[in-house]
């Protein structure tokens, strides 16, 4: 009896040893390259970091005070917020609209779905380079088409009035297929019998959509709103390629400003403060949307 227990104990001990061995690589790598830098960023935001001299000087909240007094950061934060506030609901709405269309059976459905999704698998940089050419005010295809049908041509990326909107249009094109496919998966999980029953009870198409489909899609909607917000707050690639933040700072965004402060001007402490604010913003919005969606979740 004692020897059995000892055997079990030994087996168990060996498994514990295995367990630590198996999780060690990922825990160590994540510890070194993810967790420590996260905490370190927070710490740096209270310091002046001089990398070349290897000097750290504690300056309290000075970085944050500078940040909040900086009109460039203010502009970048505002642009980022506008970008998020437009792109998140519009992407979800368009995704839902096209998912409803694709929920039907029609010829070449799979082919069309693949075409809608294609921008998703393309690198943002390469796709943005192509759009940069399409947006060219003189020879770009968009203005050429506008001229062709006799509409006034647009300055697109060249005017501070339209540049941010042009970037938003690009991002909506890039993400439409993704939003659609996620909603489509949500739609296909709704039991046909529910909608059938409602139809027999005399509910019209619009009523069935509002009372059954939409509430049952709430988890999908919550997921997309949160995921798209997180992604949108971090927008960088397309802004870097299309406008580099111009003209006159009209498309500057937080991550681009952070990139410039840290890796062009070597203001690491200042950039760390920006990163900290960005993180808090993402965390706050995620928490808010999560709580809100939890409160409104419906189950049948």
């Amino acid at each position: 009896m004692r020897s059995t227990r000892r055997l079990i104990a030994r087996l168990h001990a060996r498994r514990v040893w295995h367990a630590y061995l198996f999780v060690a690589p990922i825990v160590l790598l994540f510890g070194a390259f993810r967790v420590v830098p996260s905490v370190q960023t927070l710490v740096y935001s209270f310091y002046r970091v001089e990398l070349l001299r290897g000097r750290l000087t504690f300056i309290g909240l000075e970085n944050f005070a500078d940040l909040l007094a900086d009109p460039t950061f203010y502009r970048a934060a505002k642009n980022t917020l506008v970008y998020v506030l437009v792109i998140v609901p519009v992407s979800a709405a368009l995704g839902l609209f096209f998912a409803l269309l694709f929920d039907a059976r029609f010829p070449l459905r799979e082919l069309f779905k693949a075409l809608y999704f294609a921008p998703m698998v393309t690198s943002t940089v390469a796709a943005a380079v192509v759009w940069w050419w399409l947006y060219n005010p003189q020879f770009g295809l968009f203005n050429v088409l506008l001229r062709l049908v006799g509409l006034p041509i647009q300055p697109w990326l060249m005017s501070s009035r339209t540049a941010l909107l042009s970037i938003i249009l690009f991002s909506i094109w890039k993400g439409l297929g993704y939003n659609m496919v996620i909603y489509l998966a949500g739609l296909q999980a709704i039991p046909e019998s529910l909608l059938e029953a409602a139809r027999i009870d005399g509910a019209g198409a619009l009523q069935r959509f509002r009372r059954i489909t939409l509430p049952l899609l709430a988890p999908t909607t919550a997921f997309l709103l949160i995921y798209n917000s997180i992604q949108a707050f971090q927008v960088f690639d397309q802004v870097f390629v299309l406008t580099s933040g111009g003209p006159a700072g009209s498309t500057n965004v937080v991550v681009l400003d952070l990139y410039r402060q840290a890796f062009e001007r070597y203001n690491f402490g200042y950039a760390a403060a920006e990163a900290t604010l960005l993180f808090l913003l993402i965390l706050g919005v995620t928490a808010l949307q999560y709580l809100y969606s939890r409160r409104n979740e419906v189950s049948y």
Partner: protein, 278 residues
Amino acid sequence: MLASPLRALGTLGLLALVAGVAVLMVLPFYWMLVTALSPAADVMAFPPQWWPSRATLEHFQYALQKAPWLIYYWNSVVVAVVSVGCSLLFGLFAGYAFAVYRFPLQNILFLLILSTLMVPVQVTSVALYVLLSRIGWVDTYAGILAPNFASAFGVFLLRQAIRQVPLELIEAARIDGAGEVRIVLTLIAPLVRTMLATVAMILFLGSWNDFLWPVIVINSANLRTLPVGMALFKDPYGNINYGPLMAAAVISTGPMLIAYAVSQKFMIRGIATTGLKG
């Protein structure tokens, strides 16, 4: 279709709408290809030249002369393969440990791994760069790979998949004398191969298209990955030459688009079921 208030559209109207928007979705790709293959005179033509007056490869030749695209390819491949390979291997073993074993600190370690999902590389980049510059990893492959040797999503998804494997199977293998490492590699891995393939695809896509971190950590031209090379090819001296630029875009997006054309069902399903877009 029962779910849809759009039924009134009718199949024909539906098809017209879907096809019309599909044209808009594909137009940038089409125009990229046409511009890349057209002679310079066509590129600026009005009305637009929808089909090249003669197909030419001169823009490709120019683009290949101006930048080392083969080196960019090689760098992208190395980074993607090492990052996906390591992530799968570490993810498989860690996923197995979290799914099958019970050990002290298990939940804390799992939460620690998942918590990294909350802090994107955009936020950690500042301190990560400082750290890597101290250990001499800036401007190296190791530097590009540092935050991508492992994937939290990979661990999570593989743990979920391994949980579906009946414990009796694992017990039977143990009784047959198989060691734990062999169980993971020869019993578990084949059983969760669909999830392994999905995770590999998503991570490959993410690595292949990643831009921000590589552009931060790379200085040398011969370490640039494709997106970095592409972004810096755009505007080296302010002179704009759209033909070669679009040729470069074709070079840089071509392989991924071909891979997508071949396996689009698998790729769309993988991204839809996990909710991840690389």
